[in-house]
Each structure stands twice: as C-alpha cells, then as structure tokens.
Symmetry: C2
Subunit: 458 residues, 2 copies
Amino acid sequence: MNYNDLFHIIDDKNRIKLGKDIEDKYLSDALNRNKGEADVLVFPINTDEVSSIMKFAYENNIAVTPRGAGTGLVGATIPTKGGIILDVSLMKNILELDENTLTVTVEPGILLTELQKFVEEKGLFYPPDPGEKNASIGGNISTNAGGMRAVKYGVTRDYVMGLEVVLADGSILNLGGKIIKNSSGLDIKDLIIGSEGTLGIITKAILKLIPKPQKSVSALIPFNSLEEGIDTVIKIIKKNANPTAIEFMEKDVIENAENFLKLKFPCNYGQAYLLLTFDGDETFEIESNYNKVKEVALENNALDFILLDKKEDIERTWKIRGALVTAVEAVSEQEPIDIVVPIDKSADFINYTKVAEKEFGIKISSFGHAGDGNVHLCVIRNGMEESQWNEKSKLLLQALYRKGKELNGLPSGEHGIGLNKRSYFIDVTDEINVEYMMRIKKAFDDKGILNAGKSYSE
Amino acid sequence: MNYNDLFHIIDDKNRIKLGKDIEDKYLSDALNRNKGEADVLVFPINTDEVSSIMKFAYENNIAVTPRGAGTGLVGATIPTKGGIILDVSLMKNILELDENTLTVTVEPGILLTELQKFVEEKGLFYPPDPGEKNASIGGNISTNAGGMRAVKYGVTRDYVMGLEVVLADGSILNLGGKIIKNSSGLDIKDLIIGSEGTLGIITKAILKLIPKPQKSVSALIPFNSLEEGIDTVIKIIKKNANPTAIEFMEKDVIENAENFLKLKFPCNYGQAYLLLTFDGDETFEIESNYNKVKEVALENNALDFILLDKKEDIERTWKIRGALVTAVEAVSEQEPIDIVVPIDKSADFINYTKVAEKEFGIKISSFGHAGDGNVHLCVIRNGMEESQWNEKSKLLLQALYRKGKELNGLPSGEHGIGLNKRSYFIDVTDEINVEYMMRIKKAFDDKGILNAGKSYSE
C-alpha cells in the first residue's frame, strides 16, 4: 500500500510514523501483553484531518485502529489488521466552558485528570470517575467508562450530551447538543457511546457538568465476611442514603496493597470491608446520610463504622483502594475482569469465584463496585507455567463469564470487550444480539475498516 | 390481502377487528385530527403472539402500526400505509417487582398512572412524570418521554434498564437487564428508546425504581416578566439546590386555565411565574434547598417567594399547571410544540415567539419545563379560516423549528416526531443524520414495514 497521500493530509512529518518507526506502545494497550502490526501511525490535530484520513482509508480499503491515551485493558487498541493507527492524543483542547448550560466541550484526547482539574478549578464537577485518571475522554466515551462515583452520579454515558463523530467514509456526524431532553429521531449518540471505535471516531464531545459538591467524607465498615458486607449494600441502597461510592474489598487484597504502597489501612480487623463516600454541600445532609448507613450497617453485623473525615485518612484509604490492581500486578501477571451482575447477585458471583479458585487451581482476587454489581476480579497467574496458564486460565475465564450470564449479568460493566474478551463475549451473548450489532456495524462501516475484530465485530 | 392466518395466531375473535369494524380512535392519536386506514386491528396478549404477527406481516410485506394507549400528540399511531394495527394495550401485566434490585418488570401496555400507583404503594418511586398519566409505558419508552421531574431525576431513558423487543421479522431481542453498568457491545437498548415504533415492538421493560421520597413541597415565584424568571432559572441550577421540577408559565395562560377549571391560582400578581417542587426524606434538606432558591430569586427581581406546603395548595396549583393545554384546547384547535433548546436560550426562543405571533398573526401560548429548556408552545387557531390556517400555521411552525435550530436546539424534547412533525424535522436536521437513521432502519427492517413514514423514516 502506498501511504504517500497521507503526507498531503498531514503536512508535519513528526505526526506520521511508518512501519518500523512505530514504537511498540502504539501496537498494544495498557497491559502491553499482546502486540499487533500496522503500516502507519498518524496523529491528526483536527476533525478535518481525521475526516481526510478516513476518506483515504475508506477509498483504499485500509484498516484503521483508533486510539487515545492507550490505557485500555481489553486490547481494543491493538491493530490486528495492519493499516493505519489513528491516534487522537494531540487533539486535547478544551474548546469551551459554558457556565450557563453547565457544559464543557472538549476534544477526545484530553485526559480525565486534566478535565477534572480544569472544571474543579472553576467550581464545577465532572462526576464520572474511572480508576484510570490518565485515560482520555474519547476512550472513556468509547467504553462507557464507569468508576467509583457511579452509585450516586451514573456513568460516562450520563454525561455525554453531544458528540462529533467521523465515520468510516470520512463523513462528519453531529449528535445531540447542549440540550437536556431529546426525542428527535433515532438516538445515534448513545449507539456511539461504548462502541469501542467500531462505528466512528469521536472528534468532539459536549459533556455535562454539575456544581462541585463542597464537602466529602468517607466511611469504612469492617465485616467478618464478604457476604455480610454485600448483603448490607442492598439495605443501604434501599435506605436512600445517597452514597457517592460503595466499594468492597477483602482483607488479603488490602494487605497486598498495604505492602506494595508501604501504607497502613485504617482498620486491621474484619475479613472484608465496605468503603463508602458521601458528598454534598451541607454538613447536616452528609451526616444524615452516613448516619442512616451507620445504623443499617451496625444492625447487619458490621464490626464497626469508621468515619474518615480527615483529608489525610481519606486520601490514604482511597490510595490503597486505587492501588489494588497495581499491587497484584507487581507480584504476578493477571487477567482483569469486570463482569457486572444484578446487585443482589454480587455475593453469589463472588462465592462462585471461591469455588472456581479451587476447581481450577488459580488464585482470584475480588474487589470492586459493590454499589452497582460491577465485580472486579484479578485472575492471577502466580508463576504458573505458560502452556498450563494459557489453557487453564481460558477455561476459568469461560466459566466465570458463563456464571455471570447464569446470574443475568453481562461480560463487562466498564472496561469494554475489545480483543481480549471477544471470544467470551460471543460465547455468552445471544446470537441474535451479535447479529444486530453486526447489522449496525455494516450500516456504518460497510467495508469493515474501523476497529474490526474488536468487541462484537467480525 | 388475506388475513385468515391471523385468526390462527390470535384465537379470540374479540381480539381481531377487520376493516370497517375498526373504531376511529384506533386510526388516529390523542389529537384525533387526522385519520388513517388499516385492514386489521389486532390485540396480542403475549410476546409470542406479537412475534407471530410480525412474522406473518414480514413474510407478506404488510405495514404494521404499533400502538399503546393512543395518547401520542404527533400522529405516530396513525396508520398511513394500511395493513395491521398492532395494539399492545392488553399486554399490561406487572411481571415482577424486585425489591432487591429496585426494578419492576412490566408489559408495555401498562399505564403510567397504574405503574406509579403500584410502586408507590410499596414505598418505591418511578421518577419519570410526563404530563399524560394515561400514556402506556411502551409509549413513554418509544418517545423517551420526559415530564416535570426531569430536572432532578432525568427522563424515561434513564429508567429503562432492560427491554424485550420483537423485530420486524418476528425475532425477539433481549437487551440490557437488571444491571447498572454495561460496556458489552453496542447499546441497542438506547437505540430502541425513542424510536417511535420504527425499529421494533417493545414487549417487556425492566424499569429502575428508587425509594419513594418521603416529603415534597412546592414554591411559586412571581416575576414582572418571563425573561426575569427564565434568567433566574440558570442561577437556581448553579446553586445546586436540587429542585425536582422547575416550570414556567405566563399569566394569561394561567388565567385561561383558572377559568376552565374554576380554580384560583395562589398568586394573582406578576406577569410570569416559576413553579418549583423539592422532594426528599428530610425536612431540613428540603428547607435548605428551597431557601437557596428563595435567596437567588429575591436577589433577581422575584416579586415574592410563595411556599406551598399544604397538600391542598400544592394539588390545586399543579392541577392548574396540568390543565394548561386542555384549557387552550377547550377554546380552540391548537398545534402542540415541544422544541428543546439549551437552557440559556429559552428566553431567546420565547421572545422570538412574541415576534412570530405578530408576524404571522397567530396567537402562541408558551409554558413548559424551564429547568431543562423544553419549551412547550400552543400555536392557537382561534377561529382562523381553514385554508388560511393551513397555510399560515405551516409557515409559522417552520419558522419556529428553524429558530430552534438556530439556537442549537432540537425539534422535540419529549413528544417525538411522528407524522405531524416529520417535514419540520427533516427541514432542520442535517441530511447525513437522517441518512444514518435510515441506514439503521434498513438494518432492522429491510422491508420497511414497521411504522414507516414516521419520524426520520421514509
């Protein structure tokens, strides 16, 4: 293939890399485990360039793999069909902060941490809070990223009011806007959200903001067993106590992170913990909410209710929570899983992981978003010999995804499907659902050039 | 066409009506202004029957017009291509109330009022609250109905967790579930929501509930002008006072409704009003919120802040608000419009209606959801001679929709497009958006049998 035309589109040689000049990190994702191949890597700086690149790719039947900050965990950014890697990380401008409509308009390459910092300095708040703060907003939208604060505030989808999207043939689609309600034709915007780069390339997003809550406290609740903790979550939610986050963790996972970070968790008794936050503008409102939770927890076998209202304690505790996966990875290769089940099935699912651990002889750490049924597992290799690991881990993962389905869950709550989970996703998803996803794919990308082979897509 | 096969699918003659036996109301919508034609009207009672009817229609290339309670305002239920009217109003069972996941699973024909009553008796709450309580849930989902409480709680889309949908060829698709996060392939569920029966027939819905707020008060704020009122809305929202609803009304519209209902509005000074509600579990929380609003309002030229905390006052005031359209209709034919604009453009849009009134010589009443930019207009005939009305009202409507677009708004916030607004929608929507909607339509319904000619669909 002759890529000379790309040099006419992008007139800066620093923004095109060919073949062997492409650094390895652009051929993989955050796990850096599998590597693809590509002919060319381009860094467009505006929508017109993205559109021209896609026109060129479409006319010449060239595969395109879009990427942002490359923090994905499911291989969605691994180029599997050669062609072009289209990296939007230079498109990272904040185009407009509109304080009248409480919206911010950004390019896709801006990092979550940059966006959060920018709006919070203005007294505003972008509620979605996925664990990885160095992810790009385009990536967050492409996976419908969730995160810690989803219990109170919802997920990325709930904050995307408008999108500009470049389609497979280079056409530009504008969807939604600074409007709150919409019943005007088909909702293509929500179809793009979570589509992992298979339908189009997000080049602009209008995001909803809220006024920044003035106050926040956390609370740590130890239990003798994870089951008691998870059972209490449902009761907390029914109490209308409006927690921002409800996380669960088991003691051994925390100890691992304590050792890794050389930090002390604020509680050393109990086998499992719920960690909650409450935010708001008024102290009495926050107090009223956490007192409801305290009452419910102590009625349900909680060993304690430890209020964390000092900044230092809150930060240290959430730092440990934030480092759980990294601490596991420091010790061993692991397979990250984020199956989502109905909230009252979380305990059943976690109990099954204990059974599966024994059956397959592979260690599984569990923790995650107790408030929304999004269970995170680390399936840990722990030095298992490669061929055995490859074989056994696949069978274990299949069993876990099938258990998720049996409990009326779905394969991914927030990471997406990408390349790594595709076979498990296909295994547990009704054929007709995959068929209609492919029909939509063909309606948007008849040549199958955009991130084909990822998620549902052939 | 021979419809005998339908009698094998539906073995109860009371549930099939042929040609002339079809009552007029099934050939129209709530406005009862235009009437279509159809060969047969069927009332399936379960998903299998819906699926069999669709298989029959698909094989025989027969147009199908789905309908529920028939309360739509945009002609989406008017059969324009003959064939079958598929009425789901007998499918109105509540299939499950799951208090652990705070979900209710219902058939599409259940009325909003029935659903609200059922869940509220159990201490739960279905927040979407469109004006028309006798609409069916299937219809609410098909138009992504909004309503009064959208400021705090969002719209129907935000409460639809799962759907069962029968597609054009009779296939059955299950989407979503009792799960809170989802990043598992394309989001077909949100594509169905708001699709006005053009992509499939909703046969089951899993809806999200919340605990019922224990307390609610309203507040009425009079201003000397509508502009002052609308300007204050943005300031209220920035104050994080969490109102459930923010409605605006002008004095003349209220007087009309007062006369119609023979009820007295709680305030007779001021030219325009904001009407708010606040709900929650704790009195201090509600008080704190409305006091924030009171402060902002009085700083911004409000003439008063009238707290309505007696049940009788609240009911009477909202009854008047609820009757605004009916009161207009009692006097004259009117064209209902629900253009949505960015919230800070509401005043510009309403000001334009005053200009347009004069320019076209047609009276326009405005009121609506000030908290979300969803402006409701009644374009009122007031005895204008028919040919003149037909010509002038079309030009006025076109001008209003174009003004909405100019202000970065969209044609409908909650009513949908249907048949009546189709030409205006096409006029103000980018061609490429309509093209991709049609591509999706073809992916779902290649023969174009499902509610074709409505909304975006040819």
